[in-house]
């Protein structure tokens, strides 16, 4: 009994308290945004600052959802982000498997080449890319954004996946292949389940990268396909920032990735169980 209580107190002081501190730092500005989004517009700039809104209103959310097509934008962002995760993850997992398991001429060069992709400032690539997309007839389509976003997340995703796959012993692939699996079968049945946490983390990375991307979404698309970042940007005008709508949009915009992560985070533990079994 005593021991249990003391260790619980101990856990609270060491782990939960530090966790709370980090979460307070992480959530502070977000909470400030949530509070702003439920204040009436005319009270936003009142001094002294009202930390706790005297009056609570949902008008910004109602306006955002009814007039500003926000749900539609979110849906389109979701299509782009999910599409990017599918394309990006499948391409980067196979690429990472090659990098991790094979030694072949040009391997180091290719890996470095992948990194260079993310080193060049994107703003200078946009005009040539616009021309490419126009020639392919892809301007303002889902496909254009999915391809562009995938290309930009693949290098990082491949590198991350390579380092996760590297932690899985090669002997496991070989064992699977002596049992009659093909190379790809070994990857699919043995290696991937073991580095599921890595796949999940990389998937989250790709999802968020695509979800938050603005420049391509604005310039290569924007009308037929209008992502949430473009939608939110239209609330920032030349002479007026719609703070109410903007904060409401930001509050809602952060939710899909967060919910997604809460739902799939337990797969981060499944990896541990598998890891225990693996030898």
């Amino acid at each position: 009994m005593m021991v249990g209580r003391r260790s619980r107190l101990n856990r609270f002081l060491t782990i939960e308290l530090s966790m709370l501190a980090i979460i307070a730092f992480g959530l502070g500005p977000y909470l400030w945004m949530v509070l702003t989004s439920i204040k009436p517009e005319e009270l936003l700039f009142r001094l002294p600052i009202d930390y706790w809104p005297e009056q609570v209103t949902l008008e910004h959310y109602v306006r955002l959802l009814s007039k500003a097509n926000f749900l539609e934008n979110m849906g389109q962002s979701l299509v782009v982000a999910v599409g990017t995760v599918c394309v990006g993850l499948s391409l980067s997992v196979t690429a990472a498997y090659s990098f991790s398991r094979f030694r072949f001429p040009g391997r180091r060069f290719l890996m470095l080449k992948f990194l260079v992709i993310n080193m060049f400032p994107v703003v200078l690539l946009i005009i040539p890319l616009f021309v490419v997309m126009r020639k392919l007839g892809l301007l303002d389509t889902y496909f254009a954004l999915i391809i562009a976003h995938s290309t930009f997340s693949i290098p990082f995703a491949t590198w991350m996946m390579t380092s996760y796959i590297n932690t899985i012993p090669v002997s496991l692939d070989e064992a699977a292949m002596t049992d009659g699996c093909t190379r790809l079968g070994a990857m699919w049945r043995v290696v991937l389940p073991l580095c599921l946490p890595g796949v999940v983390a990389t998937g989250i990375y790709i999802f968020i990268t695509s979800w938050n991307e603005y420049l391509y979404a604005a310039i290569l698309a924007g009308q037929n396909v209008r992502t949430i970042t473009v939608g939110i940007q239209t609330l920032i005008g030349e002479f007026e920032i719609e703070w109410g709508l903007l904060t409401a949009g930001g509050t809602l915009g952060a939710l899909p990735a967060t919910i997604l992560f809460i739902v799939i985070q337990r797969h981060l533990i499944e990896g541990m169980v598998a890891g225990a079994v693996k030898r």
């Binding site: 517009e41 700039f45 500003a68 005009i127 603005y214 310039i219 924007g222 473009v230």
Partner: protein, 405 residues
């Protein structure tokens, strides 16, 4: 029932039109501070009046409006019509992106209703008109009437009175040793060149002429402006990084007693401050006054394949009631004589200040470099001067170099 038949019929026509290519589509790019998408009503009204023309209106975020427009022009896929500002005209012209509207305008019956000064202001350096006026604002001085009355300060009409008012209204209201109200909310970030120009240009500084900014009078005027911050400290300390959201926010929060902006923000100011806010033309310099003319026009692009239809839409937006509707949504002022005559959207004191400022409303030089002046040269040099990193003269020399090197 009739409507149903009509819409089925219209649908069938649309379908047929698709194959026969009888229907013309006009792509229109605009940016709008009002997210409620009021333009859709104007679009449907136009489409009803002009069967066979469809308007595809695209709301482009202001932050990257010109990046997107320039990319689309260079990339070979510009819209047919776009909302544009005068500062971009010289560059668009150099790029050969615009279609001259003079022939269309000559035969347009709404021509006479547009305010005459606007045709002049919009004329390009080659004497042609590429821009159709759409809306405008003029910058004026916002001030806190209650604070002015309370401290016995009168509304400044020249630089000396301005300095005196600003000093008197830089206040520690609760005697805690901290300044709570600053005399003037100065915009030191991008877009603040209008504040600077008001206090510097009409004092013997000519930005249109090589060396015109390097006269002793010009340097003294710039020094005077910098001293407002460095010596008299009548700007909030954050002034070097303040943009429009900080100057309007600071004014609304009661942190500043004066600032310079236009009628587009009056509704928000009144919402926050009620009768405590009023407006007047900006203070004069030694050689008259200078205030910024804030413009917005529409232009037809030379790459458009439907120029006639495009002009119909351009003309539609700038005529009579349509222009009034447009400006009700944008919060700016109509460009037609008929529309201005019965304008009721803004409170009278702000309209009066605007109208009184029109005679000395100016624009920046119609040169391609103006875009860089606005976007990076002015803010960087002004900020460095306000922080004491460069002198008033160095700042002016850098601007002179930008335009005339």
């Amino acid at each position: 029932m009739r409507r149903l038949i009509a819409s089925v019929f219209a649908g069938a026509l649309l379908f047929a039109g698709f194959g026969a290519n009888a229907e013309e589509e006009v792509r229109f790019w605009f940016h709008f501070d009002n997210p409620d998408n009021p333009i859709s009503q104007l679009v449907s009204k136009f489409e009803q009046e002009n069967p066979g023309i469809k308007i595809k209106a695209e709301n482009i975020p202001w932050n990257t409006y010109y990046e997107k427009l320039n990319t689309s022009i260079i990339g070979g896929n510009p819209p047919d019509v776009a909302m544009v500002k005068l500062f971009a005209l010289p560059q668009l012209l150099e790029m050969g992106a615009l279609h001259p509207l003079d022939d269309h305008i000559a035969s347009w019956d709404g021509k006479a209703d547009i305010q005459d000064e606007l045709w002049e202001l919009n004329r390009a350096s080659d004497g042609k008109n590429y821009y159709m006026p759409l809306q405008y604002v003029v910058l004026y001085l916002y001030y806190r009437k209650d604070l002015f009355d309370q401290h016995g300060v009168k509304v400044p009409t020249n630089r000396e009175e301005f300095l005196e008012a600003a000093k008197k209204l830089t206040l520690d209201t609760n005697n805690d040793g901290r300044i709570d109200v600053y005399g003037f909310g100065m915009r030191g970030a991008k877009g603040g060149h209008d504040h600077w120009a008001t206090f510097v240009l009409p004092n013997g500084a000519d930005i249109n002429k090589e060396g015109g900014l390097l006269t002793p009078e010009a340097i003294a005027a710039n020094q005077w402006f910098i001293d407002l911050h460095r010596v008299h400290k009548v700007f909030p300390p954050s002034a070097p990084n303040d943009g429009f959201k900080e100057i309007t926010g600071g004014f609304k929060a009661g942190r500043t007693a004066m600032t310079i902006h236009h009628i587009g923000s009056s509704a928000g100011m009144v919402e926050a401050l009620g009768d405590k806010v009023s407006a007047a033309p900006v203070p004069q310099g030694t050689q008259g006054a200078w205030t910024a003319f804030g413009d917005e026009s529409t232009a037809v692009f030379s790459a458009s394949k439907v120029k006639d239809a495009a002009f119909k839409w351009v003309a539609f937006l700038s005529s009579g009631d349509n222009n009034v509707e447009f400006n009700k949504a944008s919060g700016q002022l109509p460009v037609t004589k008929s529309g201005s005559a019965e304008w009721t959207l803004h409170e009278k004191r702000f309209v009066d200040a605007t109208v009184a400022s029109l005679p000395f409303a100016r624009t920046l030089p119609a040169k391609p470099q103006t875009s860089e002046f606005v976007g990076s040269s002015w803010p960087t040099n002004m900020q460095r001067a306000l922080l004491g990193e460069i002198s008033a003269e160095e700042m002016l020399r850098n601007i002179d170099n930008l335009y005339f090197k």
